[in-house]
Point group: C2
Chain length 348, copies 2
């Protein structure tokens, strides 16, 4: 089988047309997702039941001509497996029963056992691969060490993550210990997903952009680099494209491109042409349409897709995506318009 | 009277030490603010009663050695005066009874009468100036045309402002009409505040950073430039320093510096040294400590203040501030540590 255009684009090889997938493509904007979520009883039951996770992973592929599937899961499965007690409160997002409130709590943490504690994830990966039957590649993913640490220290979401940042300023050594444990866990987790069949791997550094320039390099980028180095040193994962996405950290594209990863996610606040000029031929780029574009009419969506493709320009190494996840208010018909427009305007 | 160091710094003139004020310094982190807010009955009653607005404006100055007062008000006073019906729902932020749902609604809008519809604001400015008695300068302010439009179209806050963006993509001419009306209103509003005694003026473009590069220039920066040009062409406001702050729009510092304003607010995701290199000698800079720093201990706060001052380096044109507003969780004692550290480490 010739390699799929999604994997070829990540390796900066020629493609027939630009591949496209959408962050959070298996999500609340789809009525069939909401139905399965209802049936599961809770978001966490949905994520932890391989058959249901597989079902929602495949839902958007039945509707749209997408070029990749992405494992349906949560970014906080690792701290949950470490014993922090992940749960969800309606309208408030993720919470931990046992957030990290002391140095002692942090020093006690260890890398979870992938075979037992996170088996439901690798089971889902195997099941999805079987159901996909080679139609499109499957992306595995993880939260970044810094982003996991934000939630683990804060105990949930936050607009400022000031507890995590206070630890950074008051006791950086302890935070570095936590980030090192997290990085070890992310490496083991992504390797386990690869062993189970994931064909591309992505790290979501959702909160990297909340850090100032020096803290970003010291507390986020450094550990993203550690992950890239480890995965590229291991024969199991060496050939599997690795995508890093630090949202809101456009000032750091050069540093991230030097990490050893294959591609960078890019949000919509920078021109792809500028991002490309800055990373050169080191990595492919994935992005970067403003997700709010999907609330506009089909004509406007098509024009915006074309502008994004034109902005990247000719040459290899572009995976089309939004600059952030799709929101629940979007009409699924608009997603079809986007996907088809990418394939139409992206044709070589 | 020699001009105060805050005004001198905005004009890039030599100062004895770096001046400092804090965005949202009259706010919920202060128990005395919460008491006055309680007495007022509602946030809007507080903002619309000049005596109470004056009272909370002065509260932080009684505690801290701040170099400027900023008018206590809301950024949505202009659309309220246009008849949109501003109100606040606890925990949900600002809402409008009559959001702009059609082109017709937008075409009917006009610039409010400053003498009648916004008299409570200029009355507050006059009262605060009298009570300040020359101790420190008073800053007047407004929301930016784009930021006002976001709330006016959406009807309240939003994580994506997708209705405002949908109008941008589907009917840019109508959005431009709205932004032009808003810009006219902002110019009249800031001029009225200057006539009442405001000694510096600031425009908060809170949501500019949500726009992609081209939309930012077309729908936000353009109207910020219109405001700067108008204020600098008018003898009443020509000499009054104008500060523009587009949060999250660090990619546009050069363009904003060319607008004709005197200073730019800068958030904490860019080094002041880099910002300074990019704007050159065109404008002063105001910022840019991460607001979450204030949750750390005094020792860490002092170190972070020193690092920020060192980052700006020698030379004129720095007003110290946070990179965004202070949050309600902060201990007021930490604010005192920050203010005193700025004056100590900033001494020439």
């Amino acid at each position: 089988m010739t390699e799929h255009r999604f994997l070829r684009a990540l390796k900066r090889e020629p493609v027939d047309t630009t591949p496209v997938w959408i962050m959070r493509q298996a999500g609340r904007y789809l009525p069939e997702y909401r139905a399965t979520r209802e049936r599961a009883g809770s978001f966490l039951a949905l994520a932890k039941t391989p058959e249901l996770a597989c079902e929602v992973t495949l839902q958007p592929l039945a509707r749209f001509d997408l070029d990749a599937a992405i494992l349906f899961s949560d970014i906080l499965t690792i701290p949950d497996a470490m014993g922090l007690g992940l749960h969800f409160i309606d309208g408030e997002g993720p919470k931990f029963h046992h957030p990290l409130r002391s140095r002692e709590a942090i020093m006690k943490l260890g890398v979870p056992d992938m075979e037992t504690d996170l088996r439901y994830v690798t089971d889902a990966v195997r099941l999805i691969r079987r159901e996909l039957a080679g139609r499109v590649p499957l992306i595995g993913f993880s939260g970044s060490p810094w982003t996991l640490a934000c939630y683990m220290i804060e105990g949930g979401g936050s607009s400022s993550f000031s507890s995590a940042k206070a630890l950074m300023w008051e006791d950086p050594a302890t935070l570095h210990h936590l980030l090192e444990v997290n990085a070890g866990a992310v490496i083991a987790y992504l390797s386990a997903q690869a062993a189970a069949g994931a064909q591309a791997l992505m790290v979501f550094d959702t909160w990297g952009g909340m850090l100032g320039p020096d803290p970003f390099i010291e507390f986020s980028q450094r550990y993203l680099g550690m992950i890239a180095q480890a995965l590229k040193a291991d024969p199991l994962t060496r050939e599997i494209p690795l995508i890093l996405f630090s949202k809101g950290a456009n000032g750091h594209l050069e540093g991230l491109a030097d990490s050893g990863c294959d591609a960078l996610g890019v949000d919509w606040t920078i021109r792809l042409a500028e991002a490309r000029a800055r990373v050169g031929s080191r990595v492919a780029l994935q992005g970067n349409l403003d997700p709010a574009t999907l609330a506009a009419n089909p004509q406007a969506i098509r024009a915006a897709v074309k502008a994004t493709l034109d902005d990247f320009g000719k040459g290899n190494g572009h995976v089309f995506n939004l600059g952030h996840g799709i929101t629940p208010d979007i009409d699924p018909a608009h997603v079809a318009v986007l996907v088809d427009a990418v394939h139409e305007f992206g044709r070589r």
